[in-house]
C-alpha cells in the first residue's frame, strides 16, 4: 500500500552552484592594515586632487560687477509696467587691475530669479521651438495666445521672460525674427541668447553666458587691465522680488571656472581622511591586545 521510493524518480535536488549556494565568490575581508592603508591612500589622493583643483581654479580670473544698486532708478521705472516703451540706460564703470589672459567670457548673473519653478518650467512648447508645429502652444499657458487669439511664438513663461529686457511675447519689444537682424544665422529661434535662456537654470542664483571676447587687435592676449564701463539698456525688472543682477567676466581652465568648491571639498575630505586614519590607527594599536585575549585562543 505504501508507495515505494524506488518507483518514482529521485527527487534529489540538483547539484548546481546556485541551488546549493556554493557560487564561487570573493569575500570582502579587510584586514586592519588594509583598511588603514586604504584610508591613507584615499587621503593622499584627495589632498593631491584638492591642491591641483584649487591651483587651477586660482589660475583663472573672474570679476563680478553687481549693478542692481547702480541702476536702481531704471529698476524703479521698470517696476511700473506702463513705462515699458520708455528707454532707460545706465552705465557701470569698473576697473580691471590685471590683464585677463586667454578667452574671456562675459556672463549675466541673476540672484533670486526662479527659473526652476515647476509651473515656469512646464510653460514651453518644444514642438514649436523645433519648428515641427509652430501652432502647438497648448503647454504654454498662461503665455500661449495673444488677446486676439493668435498663437504666440515663442510661447510660454520661459520665453516670455527672455533676459535681455526686450519683450515681444506680451512684454517683448520686438518680434523673435528681429532678435539679431545683423546675422541671419543667429536670428529667430536659433538666436544664441534665446537658446541659452531657454536652457533653464537649476537654482535661483545662476549665471548664463552672454558674449565672448573677440580676440582681435589689442585683445589678442585677452582683456588688458584698465578702466571699462558697461552700458546697460535696463529692461528687466528684478527688484520687486528682491532679485539682483550683475555682469561677470571670467576666464576658464580645464576644471571649470573660478569656483573653489570642488578643490576645497577634496582638500577637506583628504584632511579628514588622514585625521580619521591616524585616530583609527591609534585606537587599533591600543585596543588590539584586547581582541585576542588568551582565553579566546584556548577555545580555538
Amino acid at each position: 500500500m505504501k508507495r515505494t521510493p524506488q518507483d518514482c524518480p529521485s527527487r534529489l535536488p540538483e547539484n548546481t552552484a546556485v541551488k546549493q549556494q556554493q557560487l564561487p565568490a570573493c569575500r570582502l575581508q579587510l584586514s586592519a592594515t588594509g583598511i588603514l592603508s586604504g584610508f591613507f591612500a584615499t587621503g593622499v589622493f584627495c589632498l593631491g586632487m584638492g591642491v591641483i583643483l584649487i591651483l587651477s581654479a586660482k589660475s583663472s580670473m573672474e570679476i563680478e560687477i553687481n549693478y542692481t544698486k547702480i541702476c536702481a532708478s531704471c529698476a524703479k521705472l521698470r517696476e511700473n509696467a506702463r513705462n515699458f516703451d520708455k528707454e532707460c540706460t545706465c552705465s557701470i564703470p569698473f576697473h580691471l587691475t590685471q590683464t585677463m589672459r586667454g578667452n574671456v567670457y562675459m556672463y549675466y548673473k541673476l540672484y533670486g530669479f526662479y527659473q526652476n519653478l515647476h509651473g515656469y518650467l512646464l510653460s514651453r512648447s518644444n514642438s514649436q521651438l523645433l519648428g515641427t508645429d509652430v501652432k502647438d502652444v497648448e503647454t504654454c499657458a498662461p503665455f500661449s495666445k495673444s488677446h486676439d487669439g493668435t498663437p504666440i511664438a515663442p510661447c510660454g513663461a520661459i520665453a516670455n521672460s527672455l533676459f535681455n529686457g526686450t519683450t515681444k511675447p506680451p512684454s517683448w519689444p520686438k518680434p523673435v525674427y528681429e532678435l539679431d537682424e545683423n546675422d541671419p544665422g543667429n536670428n529667430g529661434f536659433l538666436n544664441d541668447d534665446f537658446i541659452v535662456w531657454m536652457r533653464t537654470a537649476a537654482f535661483p542664483t545662476f549665471k548664463k553666458l552672454y558674449r565672448r571676447l573677440s580676440r582681435t587687435q589689442h585683445f589678442i592676449e585677452g582683456l588688458p587691465a584698465g578702466n571699462y564701463s558697461f552700458n546697460v539698456s535696463y529692461n528687466f525688472p528684478v527688484t520687486r522680488f528682491q532679485g539682483e543682477k550683475s555682469v561677470v567676466l571670467s576666464t576658464l581652465t580645464w576644471s571649470g571656472g573660478h569656483s573653489l568648491f570642488l578643490g576645497l571639498a577634496y582638500t577637506v575630505t583628504g584632511a579628514m581622511t588622514w585625521l580619521a586614519a591616524f585616530s583609527m590607527m591609534a585606537v587599533h594599536l591600543k585596543l588590539k591586545g584586547k581582541r585576542f585575549s588568551p582565553d579566546d585562543k584556548v577555545k580555538l
Binding site: 500500500m1 535536488p13 519653478l117 515647476h118 581622511t273 583609527m280 581582541r291
Partner: protein, 1132 residues
C-alpha cells in the same frame, strides 16, 4: 465565511490546486446551504433528486475564464494595498492642478507589476483548468437501466449507484452499499484527505450488503436517504436510510469520501450522497491562516511611521510654499502669473501639499512588500534545493511549505519538540530478552568481554527458517542455539509472542509475510518470534496459524483481552492443537509482576534485575507470562465474559473486571527489550542548538520515565546539571509550592518583592506584557507531567510556571494531550515575545505546530498529518540544525540587509527632493528627469538589491555551523530594529552580484543615452526634453570629479565605523568572526568533535507504548480476508 478552516492544510500539497477553489464556489454552496437544512435523496431516481437542484459532480477550482479574466484579476490585484496606493497616486496625478509628475512615472511601474502578476495568475489558472478537466473527465461505472455503463465523473449525480474497483479513487462522497469482501468490508486509504497511509476499514449496513453485485437487486434498490447538509467535518456524518419501510442509522463508518482510494477490495458499490462542491474534500478547501513574522510587523509599523514622516514633510513644504508665494512668488507674477484657480498663497500651499505627496511617494516603500515576497520565495527555494537536507532512503527533499517565514528561522529562541518519531526514529528493534532468568542479546568476544554491536559484528544466521524476515538482525548466537536445542521455556516464550498480539498478516507471495501492526513495538515482537522459528502466518476470527519450527499448527482463538491504557496489558486465550487451553499475557512490568503466581517470585527478581539493565540502556520493555487454564474454569469464565460483552451499561469497566478474574496466577516467561532508536545526529544537533542559546523543550505524550531517559540519551538533560526539578503535584497548592521552591534554588532573589519582575507584575499591567529574561545561578532542568500541567496552565499559576520553566535550560513535559502542547507553546509565545518553533511528526503534534511561530513537520513514520500542517517539512530531526543555523541565519541577515538597503535607497532618492524644494520656491519641481524616476526602482536599483538579498553570505555554512554563537544576534533582533539601520555592505561578491551591480550601472548609462538621444527627442519633443544633455555633461571633468568625491564620502564613514565598532563595542559575534578570519588565514584545525555520550546510569521505569489494537474487530467475527487461497495453504 461561516466555516473557519481548521482542516485546510490536511489537503496534501499534491492537491494544492484545490486550495484555490476559494471564495467562488464557497459562496455558492453557502447560499444554497442556507436553504438546505437537510439533504433528501432516493437511490436510482434522478427525477426525484433533480427537484432539489443538487450540483453535479463537476468541480471547478479555476477562478477565471477568458472573458472575466481581465476585470476579475485586476479587481483582485487592486485589493492589495500596494497596488491600490499606486492607483490612488495615479488619480492624484491626473488632477492637473496638483500633478507634479508625468502620469507615466506611476503607470509604467504599475503596469509592469500588474502584468507580471496577471501572467503568473493566468498560468496558474490554466493549470487548474487542465486539472479540473482531467478530474472531471475520469470515467467511472454507473448503474443505468440495470446495466453498468461507463460515464464521466462530472456526469455523476446525487442518487446514482456507482461501482468503484480496486485502487480507484472514490468519485464522490457515497454511502457504501456492498463490496466484494466478507461482511461488505471495504479498505480505503485516506492519504489525500488526512495524509495517513495506513488502511482504514468501512463497512456497509447488512441490509444493503446482501445485494452484493447483483445488478437486478441494485437497480431495484429505492432506499431513501435523509442526511445532514454538506459540511466540512471529515469524521462526522449522520443520516437515516429508509428502505422497505424500515429505518437504518447511517454514520461516517459507512461513508466513502471523495479523495479516498479503494485498496485490497476488488469492487464496491456506493450510493452517491454529496457531489462536486458539496463533497467533504471540496468543503475543506480554502485559504489557510496566514502566519506573519516579526519583521512583517516591524515593517508595517515602519511604513506607518514613514507615512507620518511623509505627511509632515509635505506639510513643511506646503507651509514653505505658502510663505514663499507671499514673499516672492506674488511679486514674480510678471514672469509666472498665478493660475486662475489660485486665489491666494494659502490655496496654492494646499495644492502643493498634494503635489509633494506625489513627488515624495517613493519614500513609502510600498513596492517593498513585493520585493520581500520575492526574496522570501528565493530563500525558500534554497531550502527545497538543499542536498544536505535531502533524505535519500525516503527520496524526500526538505520542503518549505510556507514561503513567508524564512527570516524568522534566524530568530528562534525556543524549540518545542515531540519525542517519538522526532527525536527517536519510532522504529522498534528487538534488541534483547530475558527468558527464564537468562539474559540474551549481549555479544561477547572470545575473552568473555562484552562487545559493542557495530556493523561488522556477525549477525545470527536464520537460514534454517524459510519464513525469516531478512531485514531482522540479531547478534547473540546463544539464543538461536537455545531455540535449536529445543529449550521448552524459550519455545513457549516465542510462541506467546507469536500468539499474543493483534497483528494482521498478508502473504501475497508464498513465504513472504507482511505484517500490519497497530504499533511498531508489536510488529517488532512478532517479527522476532517469526525469525526464531515461530512465524505467525495468518488468522481468522477463530484461529491463529503459526508455523512452529517448520511445522504448521493451528491454534483456536478463544478470546482476546485487548490492550488499553488502564490495563496496560493484553492477553489471548487459545486452545492448542494438543487441546490445552492456554492464556498468554504481555504487558508493562509493573502490572504483570503483580499478577504472577507466587512460585515465580525468585524468577521475577532475576527478571526485574534484567529489566533494570534494559532500562539503563533506554530500551522499552514488556513482560511476558502465560497460564494454563482448566477447561471447566475457562468455560465458566467464557460464559461470564460473553454476557458482559453484550451488556449495554458500563461495558468496558465490566469487561476489564471479568478479565482480571482470569489474568492472574500467571507463570513468568521472561521479558523483552526493544530499542527505540534515536534518529541520526540528534545528539549533535541538540548540543549545537544549546550553544546557539536556543532552549529546548520536549513535549511528549509518553510517560515521565521514558521521556527523561530519552532526554538524557540525547543530551537535553546532562549529567552535569545542578538539579532536575520534578513537578508532579496533584493540586494547585502543591504545584505552586514546587514551582516556587525550584525558583528559590535557581535564583533566590526572584522571590523577593524587590525583584523587578515581581514589582512589575504587582502593578498588573493591562496590556500584553513581556516577561524579561531571568538568569539562574546554574544549569537546571524541569520535568512536569500532564496532570500537573493542567493545573499549572490555569490563571495564577501560569506565570509561575513560565518563570520557573524559562529559567531552566531544558524542560520536559510528559503525558501531554495535544491541546496542552499547544497551550504550552501559546504560553511562551504570549509572555516571552520571542520566536518559537515546534517540531513533531504525529497527528498529536498538529496543534502545537499550528500554534508556534514556525511549525516543522517530520515526514516520518506516523502518517503525514504533521507535515501537512507544517510550515517546513523534512525527514530527519538533525536537519533542524542546518535549517536554523544556515538557512535561517542567512535569511535573517539577508532580509535585514535588504530592508536597510531598501529604506536607504528610497530615502536617499526622495530626500533630495525635499532639499531641492528650498531652492525651487517649494514648487514641486523634481531634480530628476521623469524617466529616471520611472525607472529608478524598477530597473536601475531592483537587481542589485535583489542580488544582495539572494546571494549574500556573511560567513559560509561551515562557520555558521561550527560557531553557533553567530545565531544569537537574530534572537535579539539586533540587525534590524526601530533603533538602528545596519551599515550596508555586500560581503559576498559572487559573479551574479557583480553582474547585477555593474550590469545595472551599465544599463543605466545605456538607457540614459537612449532617452537623451537626438532621435527620441526629435520624435517626441514634448516627452523627451533633454536633447544632447548626456553627451555634453559626461564630457565635463567636474562631473567625474564630483562622482569620485561622492563615492569616497559615502564609503569612508561606513568603513571607518565597521572598523571601529568591534574595537569599541565588541559583541560576541565580532569575536567569533574574528576567530573565523583567524582560522581562515591559518590552516584549519580539526573540527570539534562532540563525544557521543551514553545515557547515564539512571533507573528508569518501563515504557509501554501501545495502542488499542484490532482486537475488537477480530473477535467480533469480521475477520480479515479469508480467501480460499490462504485456506488451501493452511491445509498443506
Amino acid at each position: 465565511m461561516k466555516y473557519i478552516k481548521p482542516f485546510i492544510s490536511e489537503i496534501p500539497w499534491k492537491y494544492s490546486w484545490y486550495y484555490s477553489a476559494m471564495s467562488l464556489f464557497e459562496s455558492q454552496s453557502e447560499n444554497r446551504q442556507s436553504g438546505e437544512p437537510e439533504r433528501c435523496l432516493q437511490a436510482n431516481n434522478r427525477e426525484f433528486n433533480t427537484l432539489f437542484g443538487y450540483p453535479n459532480n463537476t468541480i471547478k477550482t479555476s477562478k477565471y475564464n477568458v472573458l472575466n479574466f481581465l476585470p476579475l484579476n485586476l479587481f483582485e490585484q487592486f485589493q492589495r494595498l500596494a497596488n491600490a496606493y499606486f492607483l490612488i497616486l495615479l488619480f492624484l496625478q491626473l488632477i492637473p492642478q496638483i500633478s507634479s509628475l508625468a502620469w507615466y512615472t506611476t503607470v509604467i511601474p504599475l503596469m509592469v507589476v500588474l502584468s507580471i502578476t496577471a501572467v503568473k495568475d493566468a498560468i496558474d489558472d490554466l493549470k487548474r483548468h487542465q486539472n479540473d478537466n482531467q478530474v472531471n473527465n475520469r470515467s467511472v461505472l454507473v448503474l443505468t437501466n440495470g446495466r453498468m455503463k461507463e460515464d464521466k465523473w462530472m456526469n455523476i449525480q446525487v442518487g446514482d449507484i456507482v461501482k468503484v474497483e480496486n485502487n480507484q479513487s472514490v468519485t464522490a462522497d457515497m454511502l457504501l452499499l456492498s463490496s466484494s469482501e466478507p461482511y461488505s468490508l471495504t479498505y480505503i486509504e485516506t492519504a489525500e484527505l488526512d495524509g495517513e497511509t495506513n488502511l482504514k476499514v468501512k463497512q456497509a449496513i447488512s441490509v444493503t450488503s446482501d445485494m452484493e453485485n447483483n445488478l437486478k437487486l441494485l437497480s431495484a434498490f429505492d432506499g431513501e436517504v435523509r442526511c445532514e447538509s454538506p459540511n466540512n467535518k471529515l469524521d462526522k456524518f449522520a443520516g437515516i436510510l429508509t428502505y422497505k419501510g424500515k429505518n437504518y442509522i447511517l454514520d461516517h463508518d459507512k461513508l466513502l469520501l471523495r479523495g479516498c482510494v479503494i485498496r485490497n477490495t476488488d469492487w464496491c458499490y456506493g450510493l452517491v450522497i454529496y457531489t462536486g462542491p458539496d463533497t467533504k474534500l471540496m468543503q475543506n478547501c480554502g485559504k489557510s491562516t496566514f502566519k506573519r513574522t516579526h519583521i512583517d510587523h516591524l515593517m508595517n509599523v515602519l511604513v506607518l511611521w514613514i507615512f507620518l514622516f511623509l505627511g509632515s514633510m509635505c506639510f513643511i513644504l506646503a507651509v514653505g510654499h505658502g510663505i514663499w508665494e507671499n514673499k516672492k512668488g506674488y511679486y514674480f507674477q510678471n514672469f509666472l502669473p498665478w493660475k486662475e484657480y489660485v486665489s491666494s498663497s494659502v490655496v496654492s500651499a494646499i495644492l502643493m501639499f498634494w503635489s509633494y505627496f506625489i513627488i515624495l511617494n517613493t519614500v513609502v516603500p510600498i513596492s517593498l512588500y513585493v520585493s520581500v515576497e520575492i526574496i522570501r520565495l528565493g530563500n525558500s527555494y534554497y531550502i527545497n534545493w538543499d542536498r544536505k537536507m535531502f533524505y535519500a532512503p525516503k527520496n524526500t527533499p526538505a520542503q518549505a511549505r510556507t514561503t513567508t517565514l524564512n527570516e524568522e528561522l534566524g530568530q528562534v529562541k525556543y524549540v518545542f519538540s515531540d519525542k517519538t518519531g522526532t527525536l527517536t526514529q519510532n522504529i522498534m528493534i528487538f534488541k534483547k530478552c530475558s527468558i527464564n532468568g537468562t539474559l540474551y542479546g549481549d555479544v561477547y568476544d572470545k575473552n568473555g568481554q562484552r562487545v559493542e554491536v557495530s556493523e561488522k559484528t556477525e549477525k545470527v544466521d536464520f537460514s534454517y527458517n524459510k519464513l525469516a524476515d531478512p531485514k531482522f538482525s540479531f547478534y547473540d548466537k546463544t539464543l538461536v542455539e537455545a531455540v535449536k536445542r529445543g529449550d521448552g521455556r524459550v519455545h513457549l516464550f516465542f510462541l506467546s509472542l507469536s500468539l499474543c498480539h493483534t497483528v494482521m498478516s498478508e502473504e501475497k507471495v508464498e513465504g513472504e509475510l507482511v505484517y500490519q501492526a497497530q504499533s511498531p513495538d508489536e510488529g517488532a515482537l512478532v517479527t522476532a518470534a517469526r525469525n526464531f522459528g515461530f512465524a505467525f502466518r495468518s488468522r481468522t476470527s477463530e484461529t491463529i496459524t503459526v508455523v512452529e519450527m517448520g511445522e504448521t499448527k493451528v491454534y483456536q482463538l478463544l478470546a482476546i483481552l485487548d490492550f488499553d491504557n488502564v490495563r496496560k496489558r493484553m492477553s489471548v486465550i487459545v486452545r492448542t492443537p494438543e487441546d490445552r487451553v492456554m492464556l498468554f499475557c504481555k504487558g508493562a512490568d509493573t502490572i504483570v509482576c503483580q499478577l504472577l503466581h507466587p512460585s515465580c517470585r525468585s524468577l521475577g527478581d532475576v527478571t526485574m534485575e534484567h529489566l533494570d539493565d534494559f532500562a539503563i540502556e533506554g530500551l522499552r520493555t514488556l513482560m511476558v507470562a502465560y497460564r494454563e487454564l482448566d477447561n471447566a474454569f475457562f468455560q465458566a469464565w467464557s460464559k461470564k465474559h460473553s454476557e458482559v460483552c453484550l451488556s449495554l451499561e458500563d461495558r468496558e469497566n465490566k469487561i476489564s473486571n471479568v478479565s482480571e478474574e482470569i489474568e492472574k496466577d500467571l507463570m513468568l516467561l521472561g521479558a523483552t527489550a526493544i530499542e527505540d532508536k534515536l534518529q541520526d545526529g540528534v545528539l549533535e544537533t541538540i548540543i549545537t542548538l544549546n550553544k546557539a542559546k536556543i532552549k529546548m523543550w520536549t513535549l511528549t505524550g509518553d510517560k515521565q520515565e521514558t521521556a527523561v531517559n530519552i532526554a538524557y540519551a540525547c543530551n537535553i538533560f546532562e549529567d552535569e546539571m545542578d538539579e532536575i526539578f520534578i513537578v508532579e503535584g496533584k493540586d494547585d497548592e502543591t504545584i505552586w509550592q514546587e514551582l516556587r521552591s525550584a525558583r528559590a534554588k535557581m535564583k533566590p532573589e526572584s522571590l523577593l518583592e524587590s525583584d523587578p519582575v515581581n514589582s512589575y507584575l504587582t502593578m498588573k499591567p493591562k496590556m500584553p506584557f513581556k516577561i524579561p529574561e531571568e538568569v539562574p545561578n546554574g544549569n537546571y532542568g524541569l520535568v512536569i507531567n500532564g496532570y500537573s500541567l493542567a493545573y499549572a496552565l490555569e490563571g495564577n499559576l501560569e506565570l509561575e510556571l513560565l518563570r520557573t520553566a524559562c529559567m531552566c535550560k531544558a524542560v520536559i513535559c510528559c503525558r501531554m494531550t495535544p491541546l496542552q502542547k499547544a497551550q504550552v507553546v501559546e504560553l511562551v509565545k504570549r509572555y516571552k515575545k520571542v520566536v518559537t518553533l515546534a517540531i513533531g511528526d504525529g497527528a498529536n503534534d498538529v496543534s502545537m505546530i499550528k500554534a508556534a511561530h514556525i511549525g516543522i513537520g517530520i515526514s516520518g513514520q506516523e502518517g503525514m498529518q504533521a507535515m501537512l500542517n507544517s510550515d517546513y517539512a523534512f525527514c530527519q530531526f538533525h536537519y533542524l540544525r542546518r535549517l536554523l543555523l544556515v538557512h535561517g541565519r542567512w535569511s535573517y541577515n539577508r532580509m535585514c540587509k535588504f530592508l536597510s538597503y531598501f529604506f536607504y535607497k528610497n530615502f536617499v532618492f526622495t530626500l533630495v527632493h525635499f532639499w531641492y524644494a528650498f531652492f525651487s520656491g517649494f514648487s514641486a519641481q523634481t531634480v530628476y528627469d521623469t524617466w529616471f524616476i520611472t525607472f529608478y526602482n524598477l530597473v536601475y536599483t531592483s537587481l542589485p538589491v535583489l542580488g544582495l538579498s539572494l546571494f549574500d553570505q556573511d560567513v559560509n555554512e561551515t562557520w555558521s555551523l561550527r560557531f553557533p554563537e553567530l545565531y544569537e544576534p537574530g534572537q535579539h533582533n539586533l540587525y534590524f530594529n526601530k533603533k538602528e539601520f545596519i551599515a550596508l555592505e555586500t560581503t559576498y561578491w559572487t559573479m551574479i552580484s557583480h553582474f547585477f551591480i555593474w550590469g545595472s550601472l551599465g544599463f543605466y548609462f545605456c538607457v540614459l543615452f537612449f532617452l537623451y538621444s537626438d532621435g527620441l527627442c526629435l520624435m517626441f519633443p514634448n516627452v523627451f526634453q533633454f536633447l544632447g544633455v548626456a553627451r555634453n555633461i559626461l564630457k565635463l571633468p567636474q562631473l567625474w570629479l564630483s562622482l569620485v568625491l561622492s563615492v569616497v564620502l559615502c564609503m569612508l564613514p561606513v568603513i571607518g565605523y565597521q572598523f571601529l565598532k568591534p574595537l569599541f563595542w565588541p559583541v560576541s559575534v565580532d569575536k567569533v568572526i574574528d576567530r573565523i578570519h583567524h582560522c581562515m588565514r591559518h590552516p584549519l584545525p580539526p573540527p570539534i568533535r562532540t563525544k557521543v555520550k551514553h545515557a547515564s546510569s539512571r533507573r528508569s521505569a518501563y515504557a509501554f507504548s501501545h495502542k488499542q489494537g484490532f482486537g475488537a474487530l477480530i473477535t467480533s467475527g469480521k475477520t480479515m480476508k479469508g480467501k480460499p487461497k490462504k485456506s488451501s495453504l493452511l491445509k498443506k
